[in-house]
Each structure stands twice: as structure tokens, then as C-alpha cells.
């Protein structure tokens, strides 16, 4: 199975490495290697570009090359060893800039070893970049080809393989919560529906949605008001604030993720009641609230069941067609675990303990 779900034809994950180059305003023709991210099928690759302009760079180049292409090699052998039947490329998708485009790359084969290599490169002007966009390496059929597994014919344009997505962000995705939610301080002790001693609570249904922070916790308000040092080492109170930030983000994402998944599930049940033959549920996304859609847009990689889904529509379809057992496991452990891992939960706890100066126990 790949990010696109189960298909009756062979569709494989392949591994790719990413190299990033930048060009300075002063010497725009000179590309300097900035960083590399090596293969990992399961995790998307994240690139932050927001600071590059302030560092004086004017352009960024992405180079992607495959490192392992087993699935495509089977197709190649099953289709008369004609590489022209296949096209490697990268799908660029940007909601903010309203772009959706296939950028072709190149495929080459070593006739001796039959090893196929794919490469792709594209430059972007940093002045025109805004928000987030994704780059998804794929191999597509250029003509009707035979599936080596089932011997079905798959038609041109069919995605035969994909690799982990490159998410190119202006700034850390965590800031999305800061943009979407407002923060309110409350005495949890005085509110009937809030629990004493809890760090925070979430009112996702409010407009705009609210993160409630517990003003009864001694020192919390003071700590949360601390701002990062623009330069130099961050003092303990800033490190404490950051650690608490990540705990709050985890709590918010787990709560809201569960709420959204449950909403999708309910919507799917209603649709099945109306029409038992319904097969496609991707458009449940359209019936979600705009806040739910925003969170899905920013965090679908954390809320999904499989390794990755492409967009909100795919996530809705995946959730709607999952079995009860799968969904239960997902809500109780799979999704919270993914969120905690992504938000660096273990780092947050370790940080808090270090700040409390706990040594040998």
C-alpha cells in the first residue's frame, strides 16, 4: 500500500534523496549546496525557506534523485523493457499560490544491471514563494502499461510509484495553531466544566477556536509570557516556555484530531444510511467547518491512518472507509503517538525535568 491507498495494480514506494542549493542575490548564477535530506519512505522531508531571504539569498533549487526503484523495475521488465513508457516527475502543489503542476524529470537505466535511476531539479525565486507547498516525486505511466502483478492494463497518467513528499514551508507548521486559535486565561478551579490542575483545555467549536490556559498553575502565566531571546542562548524560563508550548500543541492536536476524525466518521455513517452503495467519501471534506479544514490542511500527515495522505479529501476517504477496529486503534494510540513524535514530546518532558534540576534518582 502507498500514500494513495490500496490499488489492484502494483504501486510502490520508492526512496529518494533531496539536495537543496541556494543562490545569493550578489551572485545569482552560483549555486551553493545548503543541505541534504536522505531517503526515508515513511516520513516527509521538511524544508524551511523563510529565513533564506533575510540571509541574502534570492533563489532555491531542489534536486531529487532516486535511490531505490524496485517497483518500477518490475514494470519495466513486464512491458518490453521500454523506458519511454514511464515518466518520472514531481507534482508541485500549493494552495496559497494556487499552483498544481507536474514537473518532468528524467529516467535512465543501466542496461547491464537493469537499475533505473531518476533525477529531477527545479529552481524557485524566493521572492515569489509564500506559505507552504509540497513536492511529490512520482512515476507515472506515459502509455497503457501492463501491471506485472495482476497483468491488468493500467492507463496513461496512472501513478505507479511515489516517494515521500517534500514539504516546503515558510516557517514551522506549529505556528498554524497560533494563527488559528486564540488563547484565554481562566481559573480552572472556578469553572465547572474544567479540571483543576490541568494545563489547558480546548474549545474547538468556538469561533475562533480557543485554547484555555489554567491561570491557577503557579508561574504558568509568567512563563508563557516570556518571549524568545532574538540572539544568544535562551534562558531557562524561555526553554521552559517552549517545552510547555509543545505540550499544549500536543494536547490541542490530539483533541482536535479526535474531534475531526469522529466528525468524519459520523458524516460517513449518515451518507451510508442515505445511500448504502456510496463508495467515495472524499467530499466529506467540503462539509467540515473551515477550522476543521484548516487543521486538516496543516496536519493531515498527523491525523491520517496510513503513512501519508495527499490532501484533506484523501484523509476523509481514508477515515470513512477504515474499519471500526482500525479507527479505534488510531484514535486511542496511533494518532496520539504520531502527534507526540512529531511535536517532540520526549524532548519537552526531558527539558522540563532538566529545568527542574532533577539529577540522579
Amino acid at each position: 500500500m502507498t500514500r494513495r491507498g490500496f490499488t489492484p495494480f502494483l504501486q510502490s514506494n520508492f526512496q529518494t534523496d533531496l539536495d537543496i542549493f541556494v543562490a545569493h542575490k550578489a551572485s545569482p548564477q552560483q549555486w551553493v549546496h545548503r543541505s541534504s535530506i536522505t531517503s526515508d519512505i515513511t516520513e516527509d522531508k521538511r524544508v524551511l525557506y523563510g529565513e533564506l531571504s533575510t540571509e541574502g539569498y534570492s533563489a532555491i533549487r531542489f534536486e531529487i534523485r532516486s535511490t531505490d526503484f524496485k517497483g518500477l523495475e518490475k514494470y519495466y521488465v513486464a512491458n518490453g523493457e521500454n523506458l519511454d513508457d514511464f515518466q518520472f516527475g514531481v507534482i508541485e502543489l500549493s494552495t496559497g499560490s494556487r499552483r498544481r503542476k507536474f514537473h518532468p524529470g528524467s529516467l535512465k537505466i543501466d542496461l547491464g544491471t537493469k537499475k533505473i535511476d531518476a533525477t529531477w531539479s527545479l529552481d524557485f525565486n524566493l521572492e515569489n514563494l509564500t506559505g507552504e507547498f509540497t513536492l511529490e516525486p512520482v512515476v507515472v505511466a506515459k502509455a497503457n502499461v501492463v501491471d506485472p502483478q495482476s497483468e491488468l492494463t493500467v492507463t496513461s497518467g496512472t501513478v505507479l510509484g511515489s516517494s515521500s513528499i517534500v514539504r516546503v514551508l515558510e516557517k514551522q507548521a506549529e505556528n498554524l495553531l497560533g494563527d488559528l486559535f486564540i488563547y484565554q486565561w481562566k481559573s480552572f478551579e472556578k469553572e465547572d466544566n474544567l479540571n483543576n490542575g490541568e494545563l489547558c483545555d480546548v474549545n474547538f467549536g468556538a469561533e475562533p477556536p480557543i485554547i484555555l490556559l489554567n491561570e491557577d498553575i503557579h508561574g504558568l502565566h509568567y512563563t508563557m509570557d516570556q518571549r524568545d531571546n532574538p540572539k544568544g542562548i535562551q534562558p531557562k524560563k524561555i526553554r521552559a516556555r517552549r517545552a510547555i508550548d509543545s505540550q499544549i500543541a500536543i494536547e490541542v492536536l490530539v483533541t482536535c484530531g479526535a474531534s475531526i476524525v469522529t466528525h468524519i466518521q459520523k458524516e460517513a455513517s449518515l451518507r451510508r444510511e442515505e445511500d448504502p452503495d456510496t463508495e467515495y467519501f472524499g467530499d466529506i471534506f467540503d462539509s467540515l467547518s473551515s477550522n476543521e479544514q484548516i487543521l486538516l490542511g496543516g496536519f493531515s500527515h498527523l491525523f491520517c491512518i496510513s503513512e501519508e495522505v495527499f490532501d484533506g479529501d484523501e484523509l476523509c476517504h481514508e477515515i470513512a472507509t477504515a474499519s471500526d477496529l482500525t479507527l479505534r486503534e488510531h484514535l486511542v494510540s496511533g494518532m496520539p503517538r504520531k502527534i507526540r513524535k512529531h511535536m517532540g514530546a520526549e524532548l519537552g518532558i526531558a527539558e522540563i525535568l532538566e529545568l527542574a534540576e532533577i539529577t540522579d534518582v
Binding site: L93, G96, V140, S156, V159, D313
Partner: protein
Amino acid sequence: MSRIYLLHEPLRSVVDVLHALNAPSKVELVELQSEIKELEIIGDIASLNKKACVQIDSSGLDRSADKDVARGIHEAFQKIREYADWLLSDGQFWDWCGIVAFRDYSLKRWCGGDEWLSDGNLPQPGESQLKRFICNPRNTHSQARHVVQRLYIAADCSFRYDGTYDHLGKFLDVDLDIASQIFERQLGLSPLMAVVMADVAGDIGGSPKTPGSPAVSPRTNRRNFFKQVNFLASTVSLEFLPEDELRRYFDEIAREIS
């Protein structure tokens, strides 16, 4: 000619929208300062706003001015496209467009005018209409519903397809649901896909009643078409395909539905 502004703070809720509409003189703006001289001035949007209101009044139809406003905005924003594409992804710029630059048109088009602002006895616009003034640049649903950006998107799509505005009618005349189904999804991010989908969807009609099934409206059949296209996009890279192959796929889906 008009200068470009952005709202100082993004609109985040219907409450923000109401505050801004009720007290236009208090709306805080930031004037765009640009190193590119041409960028600071754009087309005459004040007269475009006025003409649109006159058109709606004379025709009695809310959406009668949509195509002209769409084309007018796109032409007015040529310099932005050329010199600072990034501005068209800025939510506070679109917030300004809806709340200030095209205030009269937006209120007339979606809220029946502005009298309700000062007269609580008149029917008040619902939350869904007021939410159209809020732009979330990260969300296709919000972009496609925004009072002004929705028109820019349709015009830009037509223009990027073949350099003309000849396709605006496919999005804005046949059935507004077509524009919603296309542009509220990521499928609508590709001009080629959007125009071809609109072409095919526009020709889809209703299905008559048969002994075994009830009649189906054209809109229901079209929505079924878009669902199937979305499903197809999960395994086929539609952005890879040339136009003739795209049409072939979509025509096949439309034939099966009809």
C-alpha cells in the same frame, strides 16, 4: 488609479467582519510600500466597484456583475501578478479587497446591500455570507468562497488557460455550483484541469425518471461527476495528462453518469 493596501490585522471571525463593516473609517490599513514603482498603483478599482453596483441594481440579479468584476479585477491586478505574485496569496490583501476596496459590491452581491448595518429590523445576513469576507489563504474552500478572490480565481484560471477571459461563463454562468465544486478543491489549482472539468460538467444534464429510479437533477449528476473525478485523481496524476487525454477521462465519467 488605486493604491494597494492590506488590512492591518487579518479578519478571523464573523465578529471581526461585522466590526469592520460597521465602522469602515476605523478599519486599520497598511499601505503597501514597494521598491517596484509600478506595483504601488493598480487599476481603477473604485470605478469598477461602482459600475458593478449599478449593474446589479439595473438587472436585479445579484450575480449579473460577476463576470465583469472578475475580468476587471484580473486586469487591474496585472502588475501584481507580474511583479509580486506573493501578494495574491496574502490573506490581509484579500481582506482589504472585500472590506474596503470592493465593499459596496460585496455587500450588494452577498448581503443585499448595506442598509441592514444601520437598521436592525432588516433581515441580517447569515454567518455563511459574512464568512465570505474572511480570506484564509491556506484553504481552497475559503479562497473559492471569498467575496472578491473567488472572481479573481475564475478569471485567472481562464487567462492562464489560453490568455483570454472566454471561459468565465463556464464557471460563473451555467451553475455556480460548478465553480464551487472545482475551486473549493485542490483539483481547481490547475487551470487546464479546471477549464476541462467546467466544460464537461457544463454539458451534464439531468436524468429522467425511470421505472427503477427517480429523476436526478443536473446539479446532482454534476456533483457525482466531480466526486468521480476526485476519486480518479487519487490514482491518476491528472496534472501530468495533456488536454486531450484529460477530456477523454472526464467525458467517460460523464457518459457513465448520464
